[in-house]
Symmetry: C2
Subunit: 438 residues, 2 copies
């Protein structure tokens, strides 16, 4: 018999079930049993069983962040209240130009610490710098990760661009074949407005040849869509779908300004969407038509975007915002329900970035879960409901994080990374980058 870990005396919740007091069994990183009764050993415990008593806690799938830029966490707070184009051109791009590999690494470490403390068990990260560091630190962190080498090619020559594409493709394949089994790769051209159409065609061909999925920032602002229509006579989503640059397996990040026709085409093409409600709000980009996406059964997941435009990597607040915001724009209190938002933050997220056996507390699924302290005042009373988790829970309620049955955080102590060192390095990196000494 395999050694088993048993999480006992715990409330269990996913978007399909609620158990007030039960247990789960884990073997080889997989959930082997979910029970609505506490575990009681028949005679004496098997020697190899480890039983944790989680009285007063709530066990649920870990949250999935389908879009972030880890190195940018050292830019948290450098610029608020500017629109996307000015924010990029006046503040972010000039600072990124000065970012060293060491600074990028510091941002990655900070992001991983924050993600773990926020109950994230899997994420997707795009950036052009620090990919080897992202690889190394993601493996160390114990989390599941899709890591991509982002590509902006509008300002470099063809040879350089081809090199970026080869690097991105090699990196993506290395991720898919990583020995940890916890990594995924994809091709991520930054956006239609930062890459030429001919380069996007090259991305399409390489993706097809190397069997890689494609992600892209698209239809983020009205301005982007207008300029795309001026240049190509088509809206960006319909255009790239028509050119087969995006399609089955693609993750469309933002998709704020998409027409009803485009939504129908997205459904037919079976693409998924990374909805980043807070980043879109903060940059004044607008509000994505998520209610319509859900009606069409397009797979919508949630992303925080970078900490420079959010300003946190907290999927709990994205989940709550997703449930709140679209009620407000539609004047309908059931526009996006708590269940819808919970699904976006868990099983839809896992699916969208290539982890198909994750996001449910279910036999045969990977043991990717978090534990919440359900005794905190803001969850009282009535604490074992999806609605209470979506509308009231806080990332700081998270006490434990497990991925593939392995502990990443236990009783609020991160066991995979040196948190103190990583925070120190993040502060030092920002001081160097900005010349700030607080």
């Amino acid at each position: 018999m395999q050694p088993r870990t048993i999480m006992n005396n715990v409330a269990i919740l996913d978007h399909e079930q609620t158990i007030t007091r039960g247990h789960i069994k884990i073997s080889n990183g997989t959930i082997t049993e979910v029970s609505d009764e506490p575990f009681v050993p028949k005679s004496s415990l098997e020697d190899q069983d480890i039983v944790y008593d989680h009285e007063g806690k709530l066990l649920m799938p870990g949250l999935v962040n389908t879009h972030m830029h880890m190195p940018m966490s050292i830019l948290r707070g450098v610029s608020d209240d500017l629109p996307l184009d000015r924010w990029l051109k006046e503040v972010i791009w000039p600072l990124e130009g000065k970012m060293t590999r060491e600074m990028a690494r510091a941002g990655i470490g900070l992001s991983l610490v924050e993600s773990i403390r926020s109950g994230t068990t899997a994420f997707s990260d795009m950036y052009h710098l620090g990919r080897d560091d992202a690889h190394e630190l993601a493996v160390s962190s114990g989390l599941k990760a899709q890591l991509t080498r982002g590509m902006i090619t509008a300002f470099s020559n063809e040879q350089e661009n081809e090199q970026k594409l080869q690097q991105a493709s090699e990196f993506a394949k290395a991720m898919n074949n990583d020995s940890s089994g916890r990594l995924r790769g994809a091709l991520f051209p930054h956006a239609p407005y930062t890459n030429s159409l001919s380069f996007l065609h090259r991305v399409r061909d390489v993706a097809k040849n190397d069997q890689l999925d494609v992600q892209i920032h698209i239809a983020e602002t009205a301005k982007e869509v207008e300029e795309h229509v001026q240049q190509f006579g088509k809206r960006p989503v319909e255009h790239l779908l028509g050119e087969e640059i995006i399609g089955q397996g693609s993750l469309l990040v933002h998709s704020v300004h998409v027409s009803d026709d485009e939504l129908e085409q997205m459904r037919e093409a079976n693409v998924s969407v990374s909805h980043n409600p807070q980043s879109n709000l903060k940059l004044g980009s607008g509000i994505a038509p998520v209610e319509k996406m859900v009606d069409k059964e397009i797979v919508v997941s949630l992303g925080t975007d970078s900490a420079a435009s959010n300003n946190t990597l907290d999927v709990f607040t994205e989940m709550r915002q997703a449930a709140m915001l679209h009620k407000g724009t539609s004047n309908r209190a059931d526009a996006i329900t708590a269940d819808d938002a919970f699904k976006m933050a868990t099983v839809n997220g896992s699916k969208s970035i290539g982890f198909h056996k994750s996001g449910l507390i279910k036999e045969g699924y990977d043991a990717d879960f978090i534990l919440l302290d359900a005794n905190t005042p803001h969850l009282q009373p009535y604490r074992h409901r999806v609605g209470t988790v979506v509308y009231a829970a806080n990332k700081t309620d998270v006490t434990d994080v497990y991925v593939n049955g392995q502990a990443v955080m236990q009783n609020r102590v991160i066991v995979t990374l040196d948190e103190e060192k990583l925070l120190y390095e993040a502060n030092r990196a920002q001081q160097e980058l900005l010349g700030i000494h607080e």
Copy 2:
């Protein structure tokens, strides 16, 4: 010389200043000095000085919640994703009909604990039950509070209604004269649609006679406004302003559906607004035109509404939502800035509910402040900015709460109330009310 308390080696922030490392001095509940240098005793410390070292913490004004219904916290999570009218009629009012005084008291205790843990130093509470308990517990809590006896009179006879008004007025005067000096009163007829116009005239007359301010839920939903126009030929805000039922000193709760004309009248009348963005979103009521209010310099503050429609009493998330939401609806990243939102949550809130010397870290102001652990990952780096507090801080960062220089919470331990007992009672009350046994 008066005994002094000195908060030393601390970052200090309000909407007028940022100090990276300084100190404040407090005497008799008042801030007597704010310095951007650490405190260094000249020779030996005066015996009576108490010096706290707050290295790594951030000191800022406490947050102000200008609208809640404390007893309803025991209804947290009972109903999600229903619109206001169905939510009230199908779920909330039937349950409230069964709420005993003991249950209301349990909800009040839970709300106070949650408010303290959320960094709230002053609040406004309206309900019809448990006012003596609210009085007693608010005094014990150490917080500043405006307490009102809410009035719904559309379903009772004139004699009963007159009795409610007398009770409300007596209670309001008692609050204004409370020996703690930390309480305020006001008259709070629930809404135009739950009180007849003739009753609202009585409220006006009593308010004038007894020198009491008036608060009211108004223009919360489009349906309310439509029905008001049908019945009276006028929109509710313009109508009640014209009848002088509301005016100088009044706090208009919600004000979601107000016309440009009404906004101008509100400015002229010098009324203030309690903006409850999350409750309005959750009930599908709409999004208040806060950008226009701020442009007109109408005093806007923030309220959580009850935990049954939010589902927390967390002004940090309201502040962030206020800064986020209106950027999205206006497509302008500076629609409501971090500074605007911070002001709403602090000094505007204090002013709106009658605490005029609170909301700034300034000589001569009441020592109403909170301390945040600035070393948490989600505030790193660049942690001493209003923007970072608004967009990234979390209620659970709050470590200490002081009101009039007196500790309410120290190092995350509530020193004024018995938290464990109050949480136990809240759960027991809900079990009794709903017959739930988790």
